[in-house]
C-alpha cells in the first residue's frame, strides 16, 4: 500500500504545488481544504481512522483564518506522523516558530522537488536512491545540485 500524504491548506495552492511531486515520489495525496484551523484540525483528526496510511502532513502557514503555527500545535497531539510546515516568505523566524510549534521540517516557497526530496529523506520517508519521477523534474536536473544546498539556506530545516 502506498504511503499517504495529507495536505492542509485553505486554498488549492499547496496541493497544486506539491501534489505532482509527491505522487512522483510514490505518495497518495489527500487534501483538506480547511476554512479555519478548527475545521482543519477536526478533518485531520478524522483522518486518523486510517493511521496506517498517513505518512506525513503538510500544513500551509498562510491561512485566511488563523495560521499554520496554531494548526501545528493543534495537530501535534492528534497524530504521530511528521508535520511539515510550508512557508511562503522564507523568513528564518518562520522556520524557528514552525519547529517550536511541532513541525518536523519547514519548507519555503518557491518549492523545489529536490528540497522536497531532501526533506522526505531526512524524515526517512524516501529511500536514498529514490529519484524524482515527475515530468517537471526532468527540466531541473541541471539545478538539482544547487538546490539541495540552497534549500537548506532558504529556510528548510529539520529536527
Amino acid at each position: 500500500m502506498t504511503a499517504t500524504a495529507l495536505i492542509i491548506d485553505d486554498s488549492p495552492i499547496l496541493g497544486l504545488q506539491l501534489g505532482q511531486w509527491l505522487e512522483g515520489f510514490g505518495f497518495t495525496v489527500r487534501s483538506i481544504s480547511a476554512v479555519d484551523c478548527e475545521s482543519a484540525c477536526r478533518g485531520a483528526g478524522h483522518e486518523r481512522v486510517w493511521p496506517q496510511e498517513l505518512a506525513l502532513i503538510f500544513v500551509e502557514l498562510a491561512q485566511a483564518q488563523g495560521n499554520g503555527f496554531q494548526l501545528l500545535r493543534q495537530l501535534q497531539p492528534l497524530t504521530r506522523c511528521p508535520l511539515v510546515l510550508v512557508s511562503g516568505s522564507g523568513r528564518s523566524s518562520d522556520v524557528e516558530w514552525g519547529l517550536q510549534a511541532g513541525a518536523a521540517a519547514v519548507l519555503s516557497r518557491p518549492l523545489a522537488s529536490a528540497a522536497l526530496a531532501a526533506c522526505l529523506r531526512q524524515l526517512q520517508l524516501l529511500p536514498e536512491s529514490k529519484q524524482v519521477t515527475s515530468e517537471a523534474s526532468a527540466s531541473e536536473s541541471s539545478a538539482s545540485e544547487d538546490s539541495a544546498s540552497k534549500s537548506s539556506a532558504t529556510g528548510e530545516a529539520t529536527r
Binding site: Q17, V29, A64, G88, P110
Partner: protein, 719 residues
C-alpha cells in the same frame, strides 16, 4: 467477526426475532400503532439488523430493506397508507413462521426484491415530501476530489499485476474505517469513506470486475446517509460493513453483494410480478420522470447552471426501478446517463445541449412506460418532430448509450478556483479600478510571464539614465503591481513582499524629489532578481530552487527607502502649500501609516485634467478631510485581512484619490479603497463629516461596481 455465534443459534435467533416482529405488527394493526409499539418494533428491527451481520447466507439481507420500508410505513400518519404497505409484508412475515425456512427465504427474497426496488437510502425516510433532497451530497462536494490525477493513487495501472490484491487492500482499509468509526461517523469521516469509494470505483474500472458497480452504490449509500442527518443510522452502517468486509475478505461473490447492496432484483423472468407491485413501480417511474423533468428544465432554459444533486439521485434511482420492472435496456441507459451526469456534476460543468436532448427523450420514454405496460405498445408521448426511439430494441438503446457517452466530459475543462487579475496591465487606469479577468490559479504563473512584457525586457540603461527610467516607470510600476497580485494569489509572500518593496521605491522616485537620485545599480539588481523569479515561476508549478530575493538587494532597497522617507519629510516641510505639497503631504502620511500598519499602501492621486488649483487654506481643509477618512479606513483593515487573503488579494491596500472641478467650480473629492466593503452607518458618517472640517460638505460613502469602497465629498472653495 471473530465472535460469530454458531450458525444454528443464529438461525434460531433470527426466527425468534421475526416472531416478535410479527407480534408487534399485529399489535400495530390492532391498536392503531401506539408509541410504545413503535419503540418495540424498532428494537426488533435493530436486533434483526445486528443478527444479519453474522448471517452466512446472504439471503436474509434483502429483508432488511423490506423491514426498513416496514419501519417507515409504521411511522406514517395515514393508517390507510400504512395498511396498504403493510398488508402484503405482514402476510409474508406470517408465512415465514409457518413454512420451512429455506423455502420462505426464497419467496421472501423475490418479494423483497420487488418491494425494495427503491434503494435502502430512500426507504429509510420519507421521500421527497419530508426530506430536502438538495441536502444530499451537499457539503460533500468539497471533499470529493475531481476526477483528475489527484483522485487516483499513482500505483493504478491497467497492466499492473496484483491489482486484485490492491483492491482487497483498499476495501480492507474502507472496512477498517467503518469499524473504527464506532458507528457514529461524523460528516468528514463519512465523506472520506465516500471518497474512498470513488477512488475504488476508478480502480474497479481498471480491474474490469463488478467492483465498480458495487462501489458506486456504496458511495451513494454513504452520501445519502450523510445527507439524512448528523447521526447516520448505526444499523445501516452495520449493514454496509457486512458487504464491505465480505468483499475485503473475498468471501462474498461480487454478484451476490451487488444484488444485496443495491436491492438489485433477480432476473426478470423469475420474478412473480403481481399487479400491485407493477402499479407501485409504475407510479414510482412517473414520479421520477417528473423529477427528471423538473431538474432538466432549468438546465435547458438557462445555459450555465450545473447538474443538480437531485438529478444525480433521481437518475440513480431510475437505474434500479427500471431494472425492477424488467426494462433492462432502459436501465442500462439510465445508468449510462447517471454516470455522465455524475462526471459533469463532479467537474461542475454545464450539460451540453445534445445531452439535454437525449435526456429529454429518455424522460419521454419513461412517461410512456408509466402509461403502458412494458409488454404492450411503445410510449406515446414522444414529441412529433422527433422519431420515436425503439426503446426495447437493443441496437437502438445501445446507439443512444454511445451517443450519451460521446459527451463524457473532459477533465481539462474542469473548473478551478480562480483569481481576478487585470486583463492588461496598461489597461489599468491610474487608480486600481481595473478591468479584471478570472484566471484559474494554475494559470497565474504563465499569465504573469506573458503579461509583464516590459519587466521581462528591461535593460540596464533604463535604470541608469533618468530620462529612460521615467519614460517607462509608469508601466513598470503597473506590471509590478500585477506581479504583486499574482504572487499573493500563489501564496508566495516572499516574492509579494519583494514586489511591494520595489513598488514603494518606484512610488518614491515618481515623486521626483530634487534630492532623490535614482539608485540605478540597485534597481537593476532588483530587476534581475525579478526576471529570475518570474521566469522560474512561469515554468509552471515546478519552479526551480534558489530564486528567493537576494537579501543584499532587499536590504539595499529598504535602506534606500528609509533615506527617501527622510527626504520626503524634509520636502513636505520645505514647500508648504506649494504646487506639489498635497501630493507630498499625502504620500508622507501614507508612508508613516504603512510603517505603522506593517502593510504596503498604494496611492493613485488624480488631480483632474486641468489640475485643481487650491489655495493654501483649501489645501489644508482637503488634507484634514482626507486624513480623517484615511485614518478611519486604514484602522479597520486588519479585521478584513482574512477575507482579503481568501480572495487571493495582496497585502497592499490600493487607495485612490481623485479631485475634480464641476461646472459650477466646486471641488469634488473621491477617496476609494479596496480594503473593505463595510460602510459607515449614519452616526459614523455624521461624525466623520464633522471631524473632516468646516469646509467639507455632502460626505457620502458607497460601494462601486469595481468592489471598491468610495467616499465622496465636496470641499468649499473660498472665492
Amino acid at each position: 467477526m471473530s465472535n460469530r455465534p454458531p450458525r444454528q443459534l443464529l438461525a434460531d435467533q433470527i426466527v425468534a426475532v421475526l416472531a416478535q416482529l410479527v407480534e408487534q405488527v399485529q399489535r400495530c394493526f390492532r391498536q392503531a400503532t401506539g408509541g410504545s409499539d413503535k419503540v418495540l418494533l424498532r428494537g426488533c428491527l435493530r436486533d434483526l439488523l445486528g443478527l444479519s451481520r453474522w448471517s452466512e447466507d446472504k439471503e436474509l439481507h434483502p429483508q432488511l430493506v423490506l423491514l426498513e420500508r416496514l419501519s417507515r410505513a409504521l411511522f406514517s400518519d395515514s393508517r390507510a397508507a400504512r395498511e396498504r404497505v403493510l398488508l402484503p409484508i405482514f402476510c409474508l412475515l406470517l408465512r415465514l413462521n409457518d413454512e420451512p425456512r429455506r423455502q420462505l427465504a426464497v419467496l421472501l427474497r423475490q418479494r423483497l426484491d420487488l418491494l425494495a426496488a427503491m434503494p435502502v437510502a430512500s426507504v429509510h425516510e420519507p421521500w421527497p415530501e419530508q426530506v430536502d433532497l438538495l441536502h444530499i451530497y451537499r457539503g460533500l462536494r468539497r471533499f470529493l476530489p475531481p476526477a483528475g490525477r489527484h483522485a487516483l493513487a499513482v500505483d493504478v495501472d491497467a497492466t499492473q499485476p496484483g491489482l486484485e490484491q490492491l483492491l482487497q487492500q483498499r476495501l480492507q482499509a474502507l472496512a477498517t474505517a467503518c469499524s473504527r468509526s464506532n458507528w457514529t461517523l461524523t460528516d468528514f469521516a463519512l465523506s472520506g469513506m465516500a471518497r474512498q469509494c470513488r477512488e475504488l470505483t476508478q480502480l474497479g474500472c481498471y480491474a474490469g470486475t463488478g467492483y465498480r458497480a458495487i462501489l458506486c452504490q456504496l458511495e451513494a449509500h454513504l452520501l445519502s446517509v450523510h445527507a439524512r442527518g448528523q447521526r447516520p443510522a448505526p444499523a445501516l452502517l452495520q449493514q454496509l460493513l457486512v458487504y464491505i468486509s465480505g468483499l475485503a475478505l473475498g468471501k462474498v461473490p461480487v454478484e451476490t453483494a451487488l444484488a444485496a447492496l443495491t436491492a438489485q432484483p433477480v432476473p426478470a423472468d423469475s420474478l412473480l410480478l403481481d399487479t400491485d407491485t407493477l402499479d407501485i413501480l409504475r407510479a414510482e417511474l412517473g414520479r421520477y420522470g417528473e423529477h427528471l423533468h423538473q431538474e432538466l428544465t432549468p438546465l435547458a432554459q438557462v445555459r450555465g447552471p450545473h447538474v443538480s444533486e437531485l438529478l444525480l439521485l433521481v437518475s440513480g434511482k431510475l437505474v434500479w426501478v427500471l431494472h425492477a420492472v424488467g426494462q433492462r435496456l432502459l436501465s442500462e441507459l439510465a445508468q449510462c446517463l447517471n454516470q455522465v451526469y455524475l462526471q459533469y456534476w463532479s467537474l461542475r460543468l454545464p450539460l451540453p445541449a445534445e445531452l439535454l436532448e437525449l435526456s429529454a427523450s429518455f424522460r419521454h420514454a419513461l412517461a410512456g412506460l408509466q402509461q403502458e405496460p412494458p409488454q404492450q405498445e411503445p410510449p406515446q408521448q414522444e414529441p412529433p418532430q422527433r422519431p420515436q426511439p425503439q426503446w426495447r430494441e437493443a441496437a437502438s438503446v445501445h446507439g443512444l448509450m454511445s451517443a450519451v457517452l460521446v459527451h463524457w466530459p473532459s477533465t481539462s475543462g474542469q473548473s478551478e478556483q480562480t483569481v481576478s487579475l487585470p486583463s492588461q496591465p496598461m489597461s489599468i487606469p491610474s487608480s486600481d479600478r481595473q478591468r479584471c479577468q478570472a484566471l484559474p490559479l494554475r494559470e497565474v504563473p504563465g499569465y504573469l510571464a506573458t503579461t509583464c512584457n516590459l519587466l521581462l525586457a528591461a535593460e540596464v540603461a533604463w535604470f541608469m539614465q533618468p530620462a529612460q527610467f521615467f519614460q517607462r516607470a509608469a508601466q513598470l510600476q503597473q506590471e509590478l503591481r500585477l506581479l504583486e497580485q499574482g504572487m499573493a494569489a500563489m501564496k508566495m509572500q516572499g516574492m509579494e513582499e519583494f514586489s511591494a518593496l520595489l513598488l514603494d521605491v518606484y512610488t518614491h522616485l515618481r515623486l521626483k524629489l530634487p534630492s532623490a537620485a535614482i539608485p540605478g545599480p540597485l534597481l537593476w539588481q532588483a530587476q534581475q532578481q525579478l526576471i529570475l523569479m518570474l521566469d522560474r515561476t512561469a515554468a509552471g508549478l515546478a519552479p526551480l530552487p534558489g530564486h528567493l530575493p537576494d537579501a543584499d538587494v532587499s536590504n539595499g532597497l529598504t535602506h534606500w527607502l528609509a533615506q527617501a522617507d527622510a527626504r520626503l519629510a524634509r520636502a513636505v516641510e520645505r514647500q508648504p502649500h506649494g504646487p506639489q505639497w498635497l501630493e507630498l503631504k499625502v504620500a508622507y502620511f501614507l508612508r508613516q501609516t504603512s510603517k505603522l500598519l506593517g502593510r504596503p499602501l498604494r496611492l493613485c492621486l488624480q488631480q483632474g485634467e486641468q489640475g485643481c488649483q487650491l489655495r493654501p487654506l483649501e489645501q489644508q481643509a482637503l488634507v484634514t478631510a482626507l486624513f480623517t477618512l484615511l485614518r478611519w479606513t486604514l484602522l479597520g483593515t486588519e479585521a478584513d485581512m482574512a477575507l482579503r487573503r481568501k480572495a487571493h488579494k495582496p497585502l497592499a491596500i490600493a487607495l485612490g484619490i481623485e479631485l475634480a472641478l464641476d461646472v459650477a467650480g466646486q471641488c469634488w473629492v473621491t477617496l476609494s479603497d479596496d480594503s473593505s466593503l463595510a460602510l459607515p452607518d449614519q452616526k459614523q458618517l455624521a461624525r466623520l463629516e464633522k471631524t473632516a472640517g468646516a469646509l467639507v460638505h455632502s460626505l457620502r460613502c458607497s460601494v462601486l461596481a469595481e468592489q471598491l469602497r468610495c467616499f465622496s465629498f465636496q470641499v468649499e472653495l473660498i472665492c
